[in-house]
Amino acid sequence: MSTTSTDQAAEPTYDVRLVVNGTPHEVRLPARRLLSDALRHDLGLTGTHVGCEHGVCGACTVLLDGAPARSCLVLAVSADGAEVTTVEGLTEDDGTPQGRLGPVQQAFVDCHGLQCGFCTPGFLTTITAGLRDNPDPTHDEAREMVAGNLCRCTGYQNIVKAVERAADLAGRGRPDGDDARPADGGAA
C-alpha cells in the first residue's frame, strides 16, 4: 500500500491490492473507503450487500484470508494484500463461464433457504467458512453457525437445514443432478 500524492484539496488515496475470488486487483482508494464499498462500487461485485453498516446483520460477510469478516467494518486499506472471497467466488469451475454452484449454494436451492435473497450472500460465505472448520455440524451447531447473520423472511428454518444439507453435499462430493425439485422435498 502506498500513498498517492494528490493536490492539496483532495483526500489522499492509497493503492490497495486485493485478491478477490482469485483475481488480483489494484485499486486506488481513500482511507475512509470500507471494504464493502470497495467491493461493491470499485470492483462492481454487488452480491455483497450492506444491511446495517454496524457489523451486526451479516449481509456483508466476506471471507478475508479465509475467515468470515464483516466487510462493512473493515477499512479497505487495512485489507491491503488480503485474499477476499465474496458470494461471486463461491461457484466452482466446471469449464463454463458461470461455473457450477458450490455445495452451500446448491444446498440453499435444495432446501428453499432463501426468500427475498438480500441476506443470502452473507449466509453463503459464513456457512462456507463454518463448514470448513466444522464439516459435520450437529443441528445445534448448524444453528449456532449462522447465529451472526440476520434473516427476516425465513425464520432461519430452511437456512439451518441448508447448513446440514451442504455438509452432506460436501461430504459426498458433488451434488447430484439439477432437477427442478428439491432433493428433500424442500419441506420445512
Binding site: 481513500p30 482511507a31 475512509r32 461493491r40 462492481g44 461485485l45 454487488t46 452480491g47 450487500h49 444491511g51 446495517c52 454496524h54 457489523g55 451486526v56 446483520c57 460477510t61 475467515a67 468470515p68 469478516a69 464483516r70 467494518l73 473493515v74 477499512l75 486499506v77 487495512s78 458470494v87 461471486e88 458461470q98 454452484l101 440453499f108 436451492v109 428453499h112 432463501l114 426468500q115 427475498c116 435473497g117 438480500f118 443470502t120 450472500p121 453463503l124 459464513t126 449456532e144 449462522v146 447465529a147 451472526g148 440476520l150 434473516c151 427476516r152 423472511c153 425465513t154 425464520g155 432461519y156 428454518q157 430452511n158 439451518v160 427442478a180 425439485r181 424442500g186 419441506a187 420445512a188
Partner: protein, 1130 residues
C-alpha cells in the same frame, strides 16, 4: 404434469444464490448522485427559519429540496381526505422525530451528509403528546384539525354486531383486561431504496424502487410532483422483503424523484438502518380493553371492546388497520354479539403504517388470551374450547364476511397431534418438568382475508402473457415479488395453462410501461388476484392457440402439452403458432386480460360490515415453552403452525411463508419493540432491537391441512399475513400455562415475567435508602428528574455540550490508520495520542457518534507480541490483540466457564475479529449513549442521563448508579475477575500490573494513564478442585448481558467451599463482587437456597434500582442460583 400444487423451486433461485440479483442499491447504471435526508430532532416544533443556501454552495452538492420545491399545501393522498395530512417535506411544523425536513443530492454520500449539517433550521419546540393517553388528556396539543369531535382522535369507529343483549345475558362467565401490542418494526433486510432518473425532455421519471406495489408509488409520486400518473415509470428491480411496509409510499420515492428533477441527474436515496428503525412507519400500537363472556358450556357469547390505536403523527393506513383489527371480534368465532369503540389517536411519534397482519395480531392477542382465561375458569381444555366455538362455513359472520370454506378445526387438531397436546398437558399438570424451569403449552387461532377491497379497483387485476416464436412464455404483471414467491406461482400457473415447461416461463413484474394495471402485493391479495388474472390470461391465450392449431392441423380437439399443441391429426410447436396469428407482433403473440372479482364490497364510510375478501384463510398455532422462574427467560421449545390455505399452489413456498411469519410473530412475542424516549427511538440498531437470531427460535413446524376452496384460483387462499397473527397469544397462553401468570403486554421479556412472579409469590425488596446517606444525593437528583430537572437539562443543558457525531460542513477527515509490526511502535503512537484499535468491531461504530474521534488509529493486529497466548507460572498470558475466537480455542478445560462466556459474546464473525483488549475496553452499553442522545456522558455534565426517566429495564445499573446509569458491558471483565485475573499495562518502556478489578473506574471506562495501553491479561489457571460457572441473561443470542453471574470456588472433597468469588455483570457501573456473600460462604457447605438468601440480603443492602429495573436483582440472584447448582454438580 401439473406444476400447480408442486414443490417447484423459486424461478429466480439461481441468480439469488449466485449473488447476481440486482437490488436498487446494486444498480450501476444509470450513474447517479447520492441523497441524504435532514430529519427533525424534535417530536413537535414550529419551523421558524429554514436556510439551505450554505448547503447549496458546498462542493459536490447538486440539489437541495425543501417544502418550497413542492406545491403549497400538498400532501400524500393515502386513504384520501380528510385524513390526507402528510406533506412530502415538513411544511412549517414537524410532528415527529425523524420527519423529513429537507433533502440533499451530492456527488458522494459523505458530501451529502456534510451538506445536511450546513442546513440551518430554527425550531420553536412545543410540547406535544407522545402517547394516546396523553393525547386524549385535557389541554393536550391538537396535532391536526380532525373531523371527530374529540381532540386528537383522527378516526373513531363504533359498532354493534349481532345480538348483544342476548349475548350479555347468556354470558355468565366474564373475563376483562387490558392488552398491549407494541410498535414493532418490519426490519426488511434491504433498507428502503430508490434510484430515480428524471428526464427533462419528456417530463417523466424512472424509478427503481423497493416496493411491493409500483402502482401506488406512481400514484403518490405523480400527485406530489404534479405530473401525470403515467409519467412515473417504475422499473423491475429485486426487493429485499416488504412485510407490508413497501406496499405504499415510504417517502424516499418522491424525495429521490424531486431531487433528480432539481439536479437534472439520477439520484440514489438509500435509507440507513437507523432511519429504517427510527423514521419509517412501524406497526400501530394497540391498547385493547376487552371483556369476553361465555356460557357454562364454553360457548362464547359476547365481545365488548374499547380500543386505542396509536396513529403516530400522520395518517397513513391507520383507519383501515384499526378497522381490520376490530373485525377480529366478529370474524372467526360465533358469539351472539360484539360491540366496540375504537379510536385512532394522533401522537407526535413516527406514524404507523401497513404491517403484515394489519391490526389483526394486535386485537387477536386480547381475544385469544381471553378465550384461554375463560377455558381456565370453566375447566375446559383451551384447544377444545376453540373447537366448540368454530365459525360455520358458507355463512356470513358478524362482521359481514361471507365465509366460504374453513378448516380451522382441522388446524386445531393438527396442533393437538403435532405437539402431542393431550399427553404433554397431563405431564405438565403433574409437574414433570421439575426444577426451576416450568413448561407450558399454548394455542391460538387466527383468520385473515385473501385480499381486501380497500380501494377503487382493488377488485380488479390485469395480466398479460407473451408467447415467443422460440416457444418461451413471459408472464407480465404489475405487482412485485418482495420475496414471497409470487413470481414463481404465477409461472407455475402459466406453465400449466399453456402446457409448457416451467423453465420456459419467465416473469416480468413491476414495470409501469410494460405491465398492465395491477394494484400490487398487499393485504395478502397476490395469490388470489394475480393468480386469477394470470390464469385467465393464460387460459384465454391457450384458447387462441388451440384455435390456431385446430386451423393448422385441420381438426381438434387440441390440447396443449410439452410445449406443443396436440390434435388427433398432428401436433405443432407452440412457438410456430405465433406467426399464424393476426394478433402477433413480430415474433411475439401477446394477450392481456382483466380479472374482476365479484361478490366483495368496498370499504366505505357509514357502514361497518363488509365482505372484503373472496376467501378467508385460517390457522392455529401451538407453542411449547420453557419458563425459567429464576430469570424470567421464556424459551420456545417447539412450535406447530397449522394452516388452512385452501390448496397450496407451491407447498414449499407456503411453508416458507408460514415459518417466516411465525418467526416474525415470535420476535414480537418475546423481544421486539421500538422503545422511545421523548418521541425518539432509542433502539434503532440491530444491536438494540431484539430481532430473533437463528438460535433464539425453535424448530417451527408448518402444517398445511388438506383443503381446497372453490372460490380461490386453483383452490388457493392466502397465507402471507395469516402466519403472523397467532404467535403472540400462543406464547402468552403457554407462559400462563407454565407459571400461572398472565402477561398482557408484548413482548414477554424477562422483566415482565420476573415482576409478575415476584407478585405471585409476594416477594418485595427493601433497600433502606434512609439508612444510606451516600445515596441521598443521587436519590434526590433522581427524584427531581420528573419535576423539571430532566426538562431543564434536556432543553437547555444539552446546548452547552460537545455534541454527538461529526460537526462541520465538510465530510469528517478519515482517520489515519497505523499498522505497526511491533509493540514499541504501538506504545509510541499511543503516547502521541493515537487510539489503539483491535478488531475495530466496537471502535469503528463508536467513532460515528463521537464529536471529535481520534484522528489517528493504531492497529494492534500486526503486533506478534500482543497476539500471543502463553503459559507462565500457572497462568495464561493473553495478549490484548488475541481474538475472542483464538482465546476460546486456547482455554484449558479448567476454564470451560470462561469459554462459555466467550461463546456468549456477539456472533462467530465478530469473535473472529474482536480482541480481548477491545472487549475489556469497549464502550459502555447504554442505548441512549450509543444511539445519538446528547446524554451526560456523551455531551457533558449539563446534559441529562436519559435512563433516569427513560426505559432502563435491561441495560442500566441497579447498584451504585450515579449521574450516569450505564454499566460496563464486557463479559470478560466480569468472568475473569472471578479468577483474580490481572492486566499488564504499558506506557513508554514502563509496565505495571493491576488487578483486573482495578482496571475499571467507570462504566466501560479504563483507569489508564495518558499514553498507556493494555498489553496483556494474566489469567490464573485454577488448580484442581476449583470450580467455576458463568451464567448470562440476554435478550437474544449474542446480546450484551442484561445480567450475568460468575461463581468460582475451591471445593474440598467434603463439599466445603473456600476462596469464593461471586462477580455480577451488568448490575453496576463496573463488575460487582458480592463480597459479603463470598465471606459468608467461606468454609461452608452451601446450598442453592442458602446462597440465594445471603445474596438477597447483600443486594438489598447495596442496590439502588431505578423504578423499572429492580427486577434485575431477582434475575441476577437467579443466575447465581444456576451457577451454584452448576458448581455443586461439577
Amino acid at each position: 404434469m401439473s406444476y400447480v400444487g408442486s414443490r417447484v423451486r423459486p424461478i429466480d433461485w439461481e441468480a439469488r444464490t449466485r449473488g447476481e440479483t440486482r437490488f436498487a442499491a446494486d444498480l450501476t447504471s444509470p450513474q447517479h448522485l447520492y441523497a441524504a435526508v435532514l430529519r427533525s430532532p424534535h417530536p413537535y416544533a414550529e419551523i421558524v427559519a429554514l436556510d439551505v443556501s450554505r448547503a447549496e454552495r458546498l462542493p459536490g452538492v447538486r440539489a437541495v429540496i425543501t417544502t418550497a420545491d413542492f406545491p403549497e399545501g400538498i400532501t400524500y393522498l393515502h386513504r384520501g381526505a380528510p385524513l390526507s395530512d402528510r406533506p412530502p417535506l415538513a411544511a412549517g411544523v414537524v410532528r415527529h422525530v425523524g420527519q423529513e425536513v429537507a433533502a440533499v443530492a451530492a456527488d458522494t454520500p459523505e458530501e451529502a451528509r456534510a451538506a445536511l449539517r450546513a442546513i440551518r433550521v430554527r425550531y420553536r419546540v412545543r410540547p406535544a403528546p407522545l402517547t394516546p393517553r396523553d393525547a386524549l388528556a385535557d389541554g393536550a396539543r391538537r396535532l391536526h384539525q380532525r373531523v371527530t369531535d374529540e381532540a386528537n382522535v383522527a378516526f373513531r369507529l363504533d359498532a354493534t354486531w349481532g345480538d348483544v343483549e342476548t349475548g350479555g345475558r347468556a354470558g355468565t362467565t366474564v373475563v376483562e383486561g387490558d392488552y398491549v401490542y407494541p410498535s414493532v418494526s418490519h426490519v426488511c433486510m434491504e433498507p428502503n431504496t430508490t434510484l430515480a432518473a428524471w428526464d427533462e425532455a419528456s417530463g417523466t421519471v424512472e424509478l427503481w424502487t423497493s416496493t411491493q406495489a409500483p402502482w401506488f408509488i406512481a400514484k403518490e409520486v405523480s400527485h406530489l410532483l404534479g405530473i401525470p400518473h403515467d409519467a412515473v415509470i417504475c422499473r423491475e428491480v429485486a426487493v429485499g422483503g416488504g412485510f407490508g411496509s413497501k406496499s405504499k409510499a415510504s417517502e424516499h420515492e418522491v424525495l429521490a424523484a424531486a431531487l433528480s428533477r432539481k439536479a437534472g441527474l439520477p439520484v440514489l436515496l438509500e435509507l440507513s438502518r437507523e432511519e429504517e428503525f427510527g423514521s419509517n412507519k412501524p406497526r400501530h400500537r394497540f391498547e385493547t380493553h376487552l371483556r369476553t363472556s361465555a356460557d357454562e358450556h364454553g360457548t362464547l357469547r359476547l365481545f365488548d371492546a374499547d380500543v386505542l390505536v396509536d396513529n403516530g403523527s400522520y395518517s397513513h393506513m391507520g383507519t383501515s388497520v384499526m378497522r381490520v383489527g376490530m373485525i377480529t371480534l366478529g370474524s372467526m368465532y360465533r358469539p351472539d354479539g360484539a360491540r366496540f369503540t375504537s379510536r385512532l389517536v394522533d401522537t407526535a411519534t413516527q406514524p404507523g403504517g401497513q404491517f403484515r397482519g394489519y391490526g389483526t395480531p394486535q386485537v387477536s392477542l386480547a381475544v385469544e388470551s381471553q378465550v384461554d382465561e375463560l377455558a381456565l375458569r370453566l375447566g375446559l381444555d383451551p384447544l377444545e374450547m376453540r373447537l366448540r366455538n368454530l365459525g360455520p362455513e358458507n355463512e356470513t359472520t358478524l362482521c359481514g364476511y361471507d365465509v366460504t370454506t374453513s378448516r380451522l378445526g382441522d388446524c386445531l387438531v393438527a396442533v393437538r397431534e403435532g405437539l402431542d397436546w393431550d399427553a404433554r398437558k397431563t405431564a405438565v399438570a403433574t409437574g414433570a418438568a421439575g426444577g426451576s424451569s416450568s413448561r407450558g403449552l399454548g394455542v391460538a387461532a387466527g383468520m385473515h382475508g385473501s385480499g381486501a377491497y380497500a380501494y377503487e379497483f382493488a377488485n380488479r387485476s390485469d395480466a398479460a402473457i407473451d408467447l415467443f416464436a422460440d416457444g418461451h412464455v413471459r408472464v407480465r404483471h404489475g405487482s412485485a415479488d418482495a420475496g414471497t414467491g409470487q413470481n414463481t406461482i404465477l409461472a407455475q400457473i402459466a406453465a400449466d395453462e399453456l402446457g409448457v415447461d416451467l423453465a420456459d416461463v419467465e416473469v416480468l413484474s413491476m414495470d409501469s410501461e410494460r405491465t398492465p394495471f395491477e394494484l400490487g402485493a398487499w393485504s395478502s391479495r397476490g395469490t388470489h388476484m394475480t393468480g386469477s388474472s394470470v390464469g385467465q390470461a393464460a387460459r384465454e391465450l391457450g384458447d387462441q392457440l388451440r384455435a390456431l392449431a385446430e386451423d393448422k392441423l385441420g381438426g381438434g380437439p387440441v390440447t396443449l402439452r410439452d410445449g406443443r399443441a396436440v390434435a388427433p391429426t398432428g401436433e405443432v410447436d407452440l412457438g410456430d403458432l405465433v406467426g399464424l396469428s393476426d394478433a402477433a407482433e413480430g415474433d411475439v403473440l401477446s394477450h392481456e386480460t382483466s380479472y374482476v372479482l365479484e361478490g366483495t364490497e368496498m370499504i366505505s364510510t357509514g357502514k361497518d360490515r363488509f365482505n372484503l375478501s373472496p376467501t378467508y384463510a385460517y390457522a392455529a398455532h401451538g407453542a411449547l415453552v420453557d419458563v425459567d422462574r429464576r430469570t424470567g427467560k421464556v424459551t420456545v421449545l417447539d412450535y406447530v403452525a397449522a394452516h388452512d390455505v385452501g390448496r397450496a399452489i407451491n407447498p414449499t413456498a407456503v411453508e416458507g411463508q408460514i415459518a417466516g411469519g411465525a418467526a416474525m410473530g415470535l420476535g414480537a412475542a418475546l423481544g421486539e419493540e421500538l422503545v422511545r424516549e421523548g418521541g425518539r427511538v432509542v433502539n434503532p440498531t440491530y444491536l438494540h432491537y431484539a430481532m430473533p437470531r437463528s438460535a433464539d427460535l425453535p424448530s417451527i413446524r408448518p402444517v398445511i391441512v388438506n383443503a381446497e376452496d372453490p372460490a380461490g384460483p386453483y383452490g388457493a387462499k392466502s397465507v402471507g399475513e395469516m402466519s403472523i397473527v397467532p404467535p403472540g397469544a400462543a406464547v402468552a397462553n403457554a407462559v400462563r400455562d407454565a407459571v400461572g401468570v398472565r402477561i398482557t403486554e408484548l413482548p414477554i421479556t424477562p422483566d415482565k415475567v420476573v415482576t409478575a412472579l415476584a407478585e405471585q409469590e409476594g416477594r418485595r425488596r427493601h433497600h433502606g435508602l434512609w439508612r444510606r446517606p451516600g445515596r441521598w444525593w443521587v436519590a434526590l437528583l433522581r427524584a427531581l428528574y420528573p419535576y423539571g430537572l430532566h426538562h431543564v437539562l434536556h432543553h437547555w443543558g444539552t446546548r452547552l455540550g460537545r455534541g454527538v457525531g461529526p460537526a462541520g460542513h465538510r465530510p469528517p477527515a478519515p482517520p489515519e490508520v497505523l499498522r505497526p509490526g511491533n509493540l514499541d511502535a504501538v506504545v509510541a503512537a499511543v503516547a502521541d495520542g493515537a487510539q489503539p484499535i483491535g478488531g475495530g468491531t466496537d471502535a469503528l461504530v463508536e467513532r460515528e457518534r463521537q464529536s471529535r474521534p481520534a484522528p489517528v488509529l493504531v492497529s494492534t493486529i500486526g503486533v506478534p507480541a500482543m497476539r500471543r497466548i502463553r503459559s507462565e507460572d500457572g497462568a495464561l498470558l493473553v495478549g490484548a490483540a488475541v481474538s475472542l475466537a483464538e482465546l476460546e480455542e486456547a482455554l484449558p478445560p479448567e476454564l470451560a466457564f470462561v469459554a462459555d462466556a466467550v461463546r456468549s459474546i456477539a456472533s462467530p464473525q465478530i469473535r473472529n475479529s474482536a480482541t480481548v483488549g477491545g472487549n475489556l475496553a469497549q464502550e459502555k452499553r447504554c442505548w441512549f449513549f450509543r444511539n445519538g442522545f446528547s446524554c451526560y456522558k456523551r455531551n457533558g455534565v449539563t446534559s441529562p442521563c436519559y435512563a433516569v426517566t427513560g426505559d432502563h429495564r435491561f441495560q442500566h445499573a441497579v447498584i451504585d448508579g450515579h449521574r450516569c446509569q450505564a454499566v460496563t458491558p464486557s463479559d470478560l471483565g466480569t468472568v475473569l475477575q472471578a479468577l483474580d485475573a490481572e492486566v499488564v499495562l504499558q506506557r513508554g518502556q514502563t509496565t505495571r500490573r493491576l488487578p483486573l478489578a482495578d482496571l475499571y473506574d467507570g462504566p466501560g471506562e479504563l483507569a489508564l494513564a495518558d499514553g498507556e495501553i493494555v498489553q496483556h491479561v494474566v489469567v490464573p489457571v485454577p488448580t484442581s478442585g476449583r470450580r467455576g460457572s458463568f451464567r448470562k441473561l440476554a435478550l437474544y443470542q449474542g446480546d450484551f448481558a442484561t445480567a450475568s453471574a460468575t461463581v468460582t470456588a475451591s471445593v474440598d472433597d467434603d463439599g466445603t467451599w473456600h476462596d469464593v468469588r461471586l462477580v455480577l455483570g451488568a448490575m453496576a457501573p463496573t463488575p460487582w463482587r458480592a463480597t459479603a456473600t463470598e465471606r459468608a460462604l467461606e468454609g461452608t457447605t452451601p446450598t442453592v437456597a442458602g446462597v440465594r438468601r445471603l445474596l438477597d440480603r447483600e443486594l438489598d443492602r447495596h442496590a439502588h434500582p431505578l423504578p423499572g429495573n429492580g427486577w434485575k436483582l431477582d434475575a441476577v440472584a437467579g443466575l447465581v442460583e444456576h451457577a451454584v447448582e452448576d458448581l455443586l454438580a461439577q
